[in-house]
């Protein structure tokens, strides 16, 4: 085991490259990355889906070979001696690497055998891990029967069963509930502080950057920046503001996004968060004519602001895409107020398991309504029942005036649905996908031609018409999927996890279109586990374990969690407070 100087980095990457072949195209997943991760620190590997995070993790773990460049982990060349590196690292892949048929104890035993933990050291090590992960009461339970958060902690315990010097965690927080996420961070803090473990933590959640000692920001296989998170935000000092005015928040956001010195404008609660190109607020006087009562209040910059600023700087080098008009389906009369979706005491059971338990809510025409919750909270099951894909076990639900128990097919003609992984036909071209989905909705002849022309112009797809859907960048895929869902001009649009993992610019572009649709009277229903996305909704319901914990406007939900210690709670704070309150009052849900 080569000695490791205290000052030497635990991880050194030098000009690392790795590409993959997809058909006859070569995709550079990692395109020349040079970076270090300091010994004993938590380094965040941050970037959207497809940025190359997982590839980089696998390269470091010796699971892939680099095409060029050098990777040194704990002073060992990974390419030359992967087994020596693997003996000293812990690696948790995205799906935790657990055997679901085996109990918690049997999983730990397996990894202890594989990592060569002597039998006499095991009881003490297990006790420590069970204490740390709070899995002690569940050692005989099968891993497949644990909740998402518990699986994640068991996966972590298995990688820690032999104390590693370097811990690689590949997106451990995706889709787990915020309470588990917070607990995971507590474990990581404890590991780096007491056990002196170096941690490399990859994530697509930008808000987690601020919990890291250092950040490697990657985008499309390239390093966009590195350093402590404060160094990223310091460049934006004095450039972030909250704007409010006496107009609707969507109009305010839309107008500010077009202002010349504004590089970013997003809705947050009832206000709009603005980032400017220079450390002065936007010129309020010039905007006051159509935005009466416009005021700006300074606010500390976030990591996401820094990412957006860098992406805008990159995008400025390529000509900007044509700005689309409002995506206005023609047939919708904008009459607001009436309930388009009415759900009352909805329940769905699978055997003994209650996936959705006594859920009620109403959504008005033109409203954006969100279902927020972790994986397994019952969001997707609720969604499938609303789309008429799954019959409910109890309760009533009306969509677009149709009782879904009797007229699911009629209701479906009024619904547009965009599935989580953009269910496009990967082998078909963009044009073929548009043709197929429009014909599925019984559009033929001139009407079909007109809608395809509309989609191409609206979603700026002309340059990619003959490209196969599989090879499109994520942002394009998302636009194509939305276009396909809108072909038949639906009154109601269902979006299942629409923007999880896409880069912040693509997310902003997507939500600008959704806002425009809502303005024309389309009702939008969204599921998400992404706290930030919930801010875009007019109203939302927070779900946990099949039940709705609370329902209301984002600012109302956040206000309910306001305490003296936390005067400006985030959506995540509110979510955690809600789950803790539900745990304290067991009468609220059917299960504790």
């Amino acid at each position: 085991m080569p000695p490791l100087d205290d000052g030497a980095p635990a991880l050194r990457l030098e000009g690392v490259r790795r590409s993959f072949r997809s058909g006859d195209r070569v995709i550079a997943a990692i395109d020349g990355i040079t970076a270090n991760a300091a010994n004993g620190a938590v380094t965040g590997l941050i970037g959207p889906d497809g940025a190359g995070k997982t590839t980089l993790m696998r390269l470091i773990a010796g699971l892939l070979r680099a095409d060029a460049g050098k990777i040194e982990a704990l002073g060992i060349d990974v390419a030359r001696d992967p087994l020596a590196v693997q003996a000293r690292i812990g690696y948790m892949p995205q799906r935790f690497g657990l055997y679901e048929d085996l109990s918690v104890r049997q999983n730990l035993d397996l990894y202890a055998d594989l990592q060569g933990v002597p039998a006499d050291e095991r009881p003490a090590r297990y006790a420590e891990l069970m204490h740390m992960t709070a899995l002690g009461p569940f050692t005989e339970r099968r891993a497949g029967q644990l909740s998402g958060g518990m699986k994640q902690k068991l996966g972590l315990a298995c990688t820690l069963v032999h104390p590693p010097d370097l811990l690689l965690l590949d997106e451990p927080t995706v889709g787990v509930d915020p309470v588990s996420r917070r607990e995971l961070w507590q474990i990581i803090d404890h590991l780096t502080r007491d056990a002196k473990v170096t941690v490399l933590f990859s994530t697509a959640y930008l808000d987690e950057a601020e919990r890291c000692d250092a950040v490697l920001l990657i985008h499309e296989g390239r390093l966009l920046g590195s350093g402590p998170p404060a160094a990223f935000t310091a460049q934006l000092a004095g450039r972030s503001f909250f704007a409010s005015a006496d107009v609707g928040k969507r109009r305010l956001q839309e107008r500010l996004a077009r202002a010349p010195d504004v590089i970013d404008a997003v809705i947050q609660g009832s206000r709009v968060r603005v980032v400017t190109a220079a450390p002065t607020p936007p010129d309020a006087a010039a905007l006051a004519s159509d935005l009466p009562g416009l005021t700006f209040a300074p606010t500390p910059p976030r990591f996401e602001d820094a990412f957006v600023a860098r992406l805008r700087a990159l995008a400025a080098e390529v000509p900007p895409a044509a700005s689309p008009s409002a995506a206005a389906p023609a047939s919708i009369a904008a009459s607001r107020g009436e309930d388009v979706i009415a759900v009352s005491r909805l329940t769905r059971r699978f055997g003994d398991f209650v996936a959705v338990n006594d859920v009620s809510f109403h959504v008005a025409r033109g409203e954006i309504f969100g279902l927020l919750g972790a994986n397994g909270a019952g969001k997707s099951t609720t969604f499938r029942m609303l789309c008429g894909l799954l019959p409910p076990s109890g309760g009533s639900l009306r969509v677009a005036g149709f009782d879904l128990r009797k007229a699911a097919a009629s209701a479906r003609g009024r619904i547009g649905y965009m599935a989580q992984k953009f269910s496009l036909y990967g082998d078909l071209s963009v044009e073929r996908n548009l043709r197929f989905f429009s014909s599925v909705y019984r559009l033929f002849g001139p009407r079909q031609r007109r809608r395809i022309d509309w989609a191409v112009a609206e979603f700026d797809l002309a340059s990619q018409m003959s490209a196969t859907a599989r090879d499109l960048p994520l942002g394009f895929k998302q636009r194509l999927a939305l276009a396909c869902a809108l072909m038949h001009e639906p009154d109601i649009l269902f979006l299942d996890e629409p923007t999880s993992g896409v880069d912040p610019l693509a997310r902003r572009d997507f939500w600008r279109r959704i806002n425009a649709l809502a303005e024309t009277g389309v009702t939008v229903m969204v599921t998400t586990h992404f706290m930030e996305e919930a801010e875009y909704c007019d109203r939302l319901a927070i779900m946990a374990q099949g039940s709705v914990l609370t329902e209301g406007a984002p600012e109302t939900i956040k206000a309910a969690a306001r305490t003296e210690a936390r005067p400006d709670p985030t959506m995540e704070d509110a979510f955690i407070a809600m789950i803790e309150a539900a745990a304290d009052a067991p009468t609220q849900g059917s299960r504790p």
Binding site: D101, D109, L114, G116
Partner: protein
């Protein structure tokens, strides 16, 4: 060494727990062979029985009636009478009958004098296999009747003396006795290759293989830990299938159990080796199953000599049959079941199986590595 044994023990314990708790591998080892054996054992038959046959008698006579009676008695045929040869031929074209037997107007004279072609026989050549069987059976009926007729009349048996085939080892000429041993080789090819290929593909799908690879485990330990449990499982399935063949299909087992066990073990190693080789390229259970069927089951079915005789294949195809492991096992099983321990058949084929197992396992070991690319 100690550490390696401990890792192997951990992996083996995991594998046995999974076999017990996830019934899918038990289904491949026991259910799949049983279903296939019932399906093919009853479905595939090379015997003809109740074949519809047209009979045309130009001029009725006592002798003609006696000959026709011989067909009525035979379990192989379901005769139908037609008045003219044209009608009978039309029925054959419409596939209502498989063949036509025509008794000309001078049948009596020709039959007694032993002259040329006393009867006319036409068979439908569209289905050559059935045609040849029908042809043979008609000849048999003719010869039997001629002998019986001659004996009754006190005349010497007519020349040429009726050809009496002697079939050794399968005296009843039940094709099932010959099909079931070959079928066992087919089924074990598929179930052996599927066991290892599917189980490893499942680990890729669930992301557990990725986690295993970053531990200190070596690729050799992973392969051995897959080979041992599925070898035992596959041999269990083999035993159950043989028992089913002997007790349900009444196939005789004339060879010794220990030589059957020894040769089956060799073949099981080759089949599991094919599965391991497939698993080095297939990362999903769907792809693994597709490759296993196309690359192991189909060649075994067509090129092993189980249904189609290898000696009548063109020589390039005959060369290819040498890389089909099932070919050697089919030869061993047919001999072990029907003839007994014929060492001149078993030993060379067993040696070939050893070579095949070594090639497949060696290739799997060489191609598998602790990386994802």
């Amino acid at each position: 060494m100690m550490a390696s044994l401990r890792r192997l023990r951990g992996l083996l314990r995991k594998e046995f727990l999974q076999i017990w708790r996830d019934p899918s591998s038990l289904a491949i080892a026991f259910l799949l062979p049983a279903v296939l054996l019932f399906l093919f054992g009853y479905g595939v038959s090379l015997d003809a029985s109740n074949v519809p046959l047209a009979l045309v008698t130009q001029r009725p006579s006592a002798l003609a009636a006696s000959f026709i009676g011989a067909f009525e008695q035979s379990p192989s045929f379901r005769p139908r009478r037609f008045l003219t040869i044209q009608e009978a031929e039309r029925a054959m074209t419409d596939r209502e009958v498989q063949g036509v037997v025509w008794l000309p107007s001078d049948f009596d004279r020709r039959a007694i004098s032993g002259g040329d072609s006393p009867i006319g026989v036409f068979v439908n050549g569209v289905d050559t296999n059935t045609a040849r069987i029908v042809e043979g059976y008609v000849q048999q009926v003719w010869a039997d009747w001629l002998g019986a007729e001659a004996a009754e009349a006190g005349r010497p048996a007519p020349l040429p003396i009726a050809f009496q085939p002697r079939v050794r080892f399968n005296p009843a000429v039940k094709s099932r006795d010959f099909i079931v041993p070959g079928l066992i080789a087919m089924i074990m090819t598929l179930s052996g290759a599927l066991l290892t290929a599917l189980v490893i593909a499942r680990e890729w799908e669930r992301g557990t293989m990725e986690a295993l690879m970053v531990t200190r485990v070596t690729i050799r330990e992973i392969l051995i830990a897959k080979l041992i449990p599925y070898f035992l499982l596959g041999m269990g399935g083999m035993a159950a299938t043989v028992a089913l063949g002997v007790f349900r299909f009444d196939v005789p087992l004339r060879g010794s159990l220990w030589s059957l066990t020894a040769t089956s073990s060799l073949f099981m190693l080759a089949a599991l080796g094919m599965g391991l080789l497939i698993s080095t390229v297939a990362r999903s259970q769907f792809v693994a199953a597709q490759i296993a069927i196309i690359a192991t089951f189909l060649p075994a079915f067509i090129l092993s000599g189980f249904v189609f005789d290898i000696n009548s294949m063109p020589w390039p195809v005959q060369i290819i049959t040498h890389v089909v492991a099932a070919r050697y096992f089919v030869a061993i099983l047919q001999s072990t079941f029907l003839a007994g321990d014929v060492w001149s058949v078993i030993l060379p084929n067993a040696a070939a199986l050893i070579v095949m197992a070594a090639i497949f396992l060696g290739a799997a070991r060489a191609l598998a590595h602790k990386r994802l690319d």
